[in-house]
């Protein structure tokens, strides 16, 4: 108990835990759709491509979310243009666009005074989350979370069968754009905690983990955020006691839990399904 409570006596630890848990929950909810649509690479791209937007927003004093949204849009448009108007395939188009925009962000950081703040965007700075940071994450996170939950059924329909969405008078284009906008917003939330480089882990791993555990999307939407939040808090505690990089520790914990589920999930796990089969065989043998 002492072990759990001691870190909480520091304000910076409390802020770190609140921010991370919140970012983990929002990212995890979004990740459920990303892994099912096959947008993981897109998540990677958008989360990196927002960097120049965030830096420019910092320079002119605008909200980070605004810069991020603009550059998410730029990235998605450029990817579409390169893919549709040249013989370059989509994965290459994504790679070219996001790494170039990310590099642009790094260049902008290197010429911007007061580099310390901005370097935190790249690797995250969980333990240095300030009160205004926390408020920004809180507002953006709650907005993104609310939209995702209110529109969850439409987004699932879009992920599963966009043609039907169109046939009943919805706009798959608009739903896709909504999901991309939320991806940009969520990237900003997670930037603060684990940094640009590792955001993509928070945007993919929880959804993939939950997908291996259930056959119901509604349950994925509960499992993913719960597992992600627990992993994140565990990661912070471990980093506190082992004195390791906090953002990286959070992602590492997520990865370890995914590996465990991958191996031992009773439905889909590599070893779990075999164990279940062996048990059934044994039961059958006993019955016979």
């Amino acid at each position: 108990m002492e072990l759990l409570l001691e870190p909480l006596s520091y304000d910076f630890m409390v802020r770190a835990i609140v921010t991370t848990a919140l970012a983990a929950v929002v990212c995890a909810v979004l990740s459920c759709w990303l892994v099912l649509i096959g947008w993981s690479l897109m998540g990677d791209a958008v989360s990196h491509a927002v960097l120049p937007g965030v830096v420019l927003a910092y320079i002119v004093g605008a909200p980070f979310a605004l810069g991020a949204l603009v550059f998410a849009l730029v990235a998605v448009t450029l990817i579409g243009v390169v893919r549709n108007t040249s013989r370059v395939k989509e994965d290459a188009a994504i790679g070219i666009v996001f790494s170039s925009l990310f590099a642009l962000g790094l260049v902008l950081i290197s010429v911007t005074p007061s580099q310390t703040d901005l370097n935190h965007i790249i690797f995250g700075n969980l333990l240095g989350v300030s009160v205004p940071d926390l408020i920004q994450v809180l507002v953006l996170g709650v907005v993104a979370f609310a939209i995702l939950i209110l529109k969850r059924r439409d987004l699932t329909l879009y992920a599963f069968d966009p043609t039907h969405a169109h046939a009943i008078g919805l706009s798959p284009r608009r739903l896709g754009a909504l999901l991309l906008g939320l991806l940009a917003l969520t990237s900003v939330v997670a930037l603060q905690t684990v940094g640009v480089v590792l955001v993509v882990a928070m945007l993919i791993i929880p959804g993939a983990t939950a997908y291996l555990l259930t056959d119901r999307f509604s349950r994925m939407l509960v499992i993913a955020p719960v597992v992600s939040a627990l992993c994140s808090i565990t990661g912070i505690y471990v980093s506190y006691y082992l004195d390791t990089a906090s953002g990286a520790m959070v992602v590492l914990t997520q990865g370890v839990v995914f590996a465990a589920v991958y191996l031992f999930s009773p439905r889909q796990g590599l070893i779990g399904t075999r164990l279940a089969k062996a048990r059934r065989r044994k039961a059958a043998a006993v019955a016979a």
């Binding site: 329909l157 039907h164 009943i168 008078g169 999307f217």
Partner: protein, 254 residues
């Protein structure tokens, strides 16, 4: 004269340089089942997309019960049963979840299901005899059951026009008969049904009429007539083969 259920008038669609539909025209009366026959790449899917309003034709008009497709879509009038390959069967949804998606057009902002929605879904599931499978993940159905689940979605939706893309692909004989019976029932209730299929032997039993498509509508008539070998040859490009045979025959007799 009554308003046709589906009216496709001189519709032309290009994909870049490729001509998909070339002044195609088709009129279908209400409560009829029409089979759409043509090779891969003959424009069947494009015709479906034009009827659903997913593609705006370069020329020509489409009317569903006299209205533009966008209007019918908003009223939930168009039901679509996709090809098996287009569906992610691993998707974590139950049969009931999928059928409920037919009701979204009738629901509010968050698509919260009402009692009436749930009743409509139960009724549709019973209608296609999948009541006992409602809780299954969609991938755990047989080929024929999968098709029926999507037909149920159209029924729950209240669709008056249904488009089915290759409903007999990967379906065994018994399920084929079940689907045929189900579609005939729907048609007798007033639903207009357009079915694209490779499965020519199923056509006479299922369809009231058939259409041969090769970018344009080559022929539209009773299935027995459309399925005459010489007519099929037009759509499937076998006329070359026939001509060769005829040539050699003529040479021999000469």
């Amino acid at each position: 004269m009554s308003t046709p259920a589906i009216l496709v008038d001189n519709v032309t669609v290009h994909y870049g340089e490729v001509l998909a539909l070339d002044a195609a025209s088709l009129t279908l009366d209400p409560a009829r089942i029409c089979g759409l026959v043509g090779m891969n790449g003959s424009g069947k899917s494009t015709l479906f997309k034009v009827i659903m309003g997913m593609i705006k034709p370069d020329a020509g008009t489409v009317r569903i019960h006299g209205e533009p497709p966008s209007r019918t879509r908003r009223e939930g009038g168009i039901g679509y049963v996709p090809q098996s390959e287009e569906v992610d069967w691993q998707f974590p949804l139950s049969v009931r979840d999928v059928v409920m998606m037919g009701r979204y057009g009738h629901q509010g902002f968050t698509r919260q299901a009402s009692k009436a929605d749930r009743a409509a879904v139960d009724e549709a599931l019973d209608r296609v005899e999948l009541g006992d499978y409602a809780g299954r993940q969609i991938g755990q159905l047989s080929g024929g059951q999968k098709k029926r689940a999507f037909v149920a979605r159209g029924i729950a939706q209240g669709a008056t026009t249904m488009l089915l893309d290759e409903p007999f692909a990967g379906v065994d004989k018994r399920s084929e008969a079940t689907i045929t019976r189900l579609l005939r029932e729907l048609a007798s209730d007033g639903c207009t049904i357009l079915v694209s299929t490779h499965d020519l032997h199923a056509l006479p039993e299922l369809c009231d009429e058939a259409v041969l498509l090769m970018h344009r509508v080559l022929m539209h008539g009773p299935p027995e007539l459309v399925l005459q070998p010489e007519n099929l040859a037009m759509a499937f490009g076998l006329d070359v083969l026939n001509r060769d045979q005829r040539d050699s025959h003529e040479r021999r007799s000469a």
